[in-house]
């Protein structure tokens, strides 16, 4: 439904196109979002998320590469044809961008007016949308009278008015409190399931990815560095940045006192400290006690957490493996052979 092929975007500062101080916000991005999927792009601020999503409906025209939405190559279009194509792509924004001079009803009616639809048809189209987002009773109010969450609901109704095939969400929940975020995400998921709408969203919040996305891409410094199913991403991120995001999200870091004692290289008198992530069958297997029995090492659990990511369960643990060097080596092999993600964080000297 959405396909970005080798899309780059370079900004040239005003009056200079010699490239001396050009900024490349997006580098050779390739992305494919199939119909009906919710795809998240996560990254830190300044990573190029906004540029990426703006390239999809050509609010930013890519410097190179092509963008195809619903079988139509947008990068080949301009003027009226591009405006026509944009009717089939809805977009919502972090700061809602509702017109203050228009009522809720008139805001939702705006895209239909732009398409030249008749007044009576507009009325028939707008009211069900306000019902859908639960704001039918607010039709005659002005945006200033609404809460942030209600404003975003109006913006969603507005984005859906032209019956788009694709919805772009630009940090749609970043200005909202956690509770409101939850209800907006609920609404987006509902729309995705009911209307089969393909959604591309950008965010810096793992919570958003966790609760509604099917797939996720990680963007860093203008490059898409990783792409995975959400369940896989949360159990085994493939990049350091992915792990950082996950650890920040899960708040699973070794205690500070331990970090200070960690050494990079093992010595005959040290124990490995490992971060274990297990999902699927591994969650229900009593691995720790088996480890003690079969490998003869003691396991000291420093931190542990069980998260439910969509339909999958994810267990995370930071543990110290205590025993002779050859035994702990054996234990690590045992863990790795049992479909676990094992990451050795470092080694600590024995206390004794």
């Amino acid at each position: 439904m959405i396909r970005l092929h080798d899309v780059s975007k370079t900004y040239y500062p005003k009056g200079r196109s010699d490239g001396t101080s050009a900024v490349t916000a997006l580098k050779h991005a390739n992305l494919h979002v199939p119909k009906g999927e919710i795809h998240g792009v996560i990254g830190l601020s300044g990573a190029g998320k906004s540029t990426l999503i703006r390239c999809v409906n050509l609010l930013e025209r890519p410097t190179t590469g092509s963008v195809t939405v619903d079988g139509q190559e947008l990068t080949a279009l301009s003027g009226a044809a591009l405006n026509q194509a944009r009717h089939r792509i809805g977009m919502i924004f972090q700061h809602f961008n509702l017109l203050t001079s228009r009522t809720v009803f008139a805001n939702v009616a705006l895209p239909l007016e732009l398409m030249g639809m008749k007044r009576t048809e507009i009325r028939e189209r707008v009211m069900p949308l306000l019902d859908l987002v639960g704001l039918a009773d607010k039709a005659d109010q002005y945006p200033a009278q609404l809460s942030g969450g209600q404003k975003q609901r109006v913006a969603i109704a507005r984005a859906l008015a032209s019956r788009p095939k694709v919805l772009l969400c630009d940090e749609a929940t970043s200005a909202l409190d956690p509770h409101t975020t939850g209800s907006i995400l609920e609404l987006l998921r509902d729309i995705n399931q009911r209307l089969g709408l393909t959604i591309l969203l950008i965010t810096h919040e793992m919570e958003v990815v966790k609760s509604i996305c099917h797939r996720v891409s990680l963007i860093s410094d203008g490059e898409l560095v990783e792409e995975a199913e959400v369940g896989d991403f949360f159990t085994a991120p493939g990049t350091q940045l992915g792990r950082d995001f996950l650890n920040d999200f899960l708040e699973l870091e070794p205690p500070q006192a331990l970090i200070e004692r960690l050494e990079e290289t093992p010595s005959p008198t040290s124990h490995p400290v490992v971060r274990l992530a297990f999902s699927g069958d591994a969650v229900s297997t009593p691995l720790i006690s088996r480890l003690a029995r079969e490998c003869g090492v003691d396991v000291s659990i420093l931190q542990a957490k069980v998260e439910s990511i969509q339909e999958r369960t994810l267990g995370l643990m930071i543990a110290e493996l205590m025993g002779p060097a050859e035994k702990t080596r054996e234990a690590l092999d045992y863990l790795e052979s049992h479909d676990l993600q094992v990451e050795v964080l470092g080694h600590v000297q024995r206390d004794d």
Partner: protein, 217 residues
């Protein structure tokens, strides 16, 4: 006070209102579109035309930098051409209009500049044409600011029109100079000033009302 005097004052008041109304309406009709044009042709705006923008900006600045009293005299040939005379209320309305157009344009441009860029972006994402963005987003969203601009312009025109009176434009300024100053009649002087004050208050209140009505922020 004689009834002739009262009639004179009444006539002068209507003359002033006439000049302000004519120049106000025409300068709004020209100045608002010019202000919009100044805004949308800016670099990175929806109809970016840097050269046109610079030319329009320069013309506007020239118009705004000429003192009104000089402008009035300088364009007498143009005034004669347009209204057939260089004295009277119609003649005074020509320099008033020309002085007010760039004034309105810059104020309108400023009002448009207050609109968050996200609103234009949202309209673009819906496939709005530049004309649709102007008529459905920019102008409605700036309505309050445009009313403020027109109020300031009307008030300025009241005082400019009094100046126009000094060179035979008619109106309250003319009355104040000829009867109040030249014939040293402090009552007439006081009355003209009071009427001008009331007029300005009236325009301001009307403007404030319109701004309040159009503001839903």
């Amino acid at each position: 006070m004689s009834s002739a005097m009262i009639e004179l004052i009444l006539e002068a008041t209507l003359d002033t209102l006439y000049m302000v109304a004519v120049s106000g309406v025409i300068s709004a009709l020209v100045g608002i579109p010019l202000g919009v044009l100044l805004y949308v042709t800016r670099p990175r705006q929806i109809l970016a035309e840097p050269v046109l923008n610079r030319v329009l900006g320069a013309i506007t600045n020239i118009g705004r930098s000429i003192p009104f009293i000089i402008l009035m005299v300088a364009i007498i040939p143009l005034t004669r051409m347009l209204v057939g005379s260089s004295i009277g209320t119609n003649a005074a309305s020509v320099p008033l209009t020309i002085a007010a157009i760039p004034f309105v344009a810059r104020l309108v441009e400023g009002a448009l500049n207050e609109i968050p860029p996200g609103l234009v972006e949202a309209a673009q994402s819906m496939g709005a044409t530049p004309w649709q963005i102007i008529t459905k987003v920019l102008v409605p969203e700036a309505r309050g600011g445009i009313f403020t601009a027109l109020t300031v312009t009307a008030v300025t025109l009241v005082s400019y029109s009094a100046m126009a009176g000094a060179v035979g434009g008619g109106g309250l300024g003319d009355l104040g100079i000829r009867y109040g100053y030249n014939r040293f009649n402090p009552t007439i002087m006081l009355i003209t000033v009071v009427i001008l004050v009331v007029m300005v208050q009236g325009f301001q209140s009307l403007g404030d009302y319109l701004v309040r009505k159009s503001d839903h922020k």
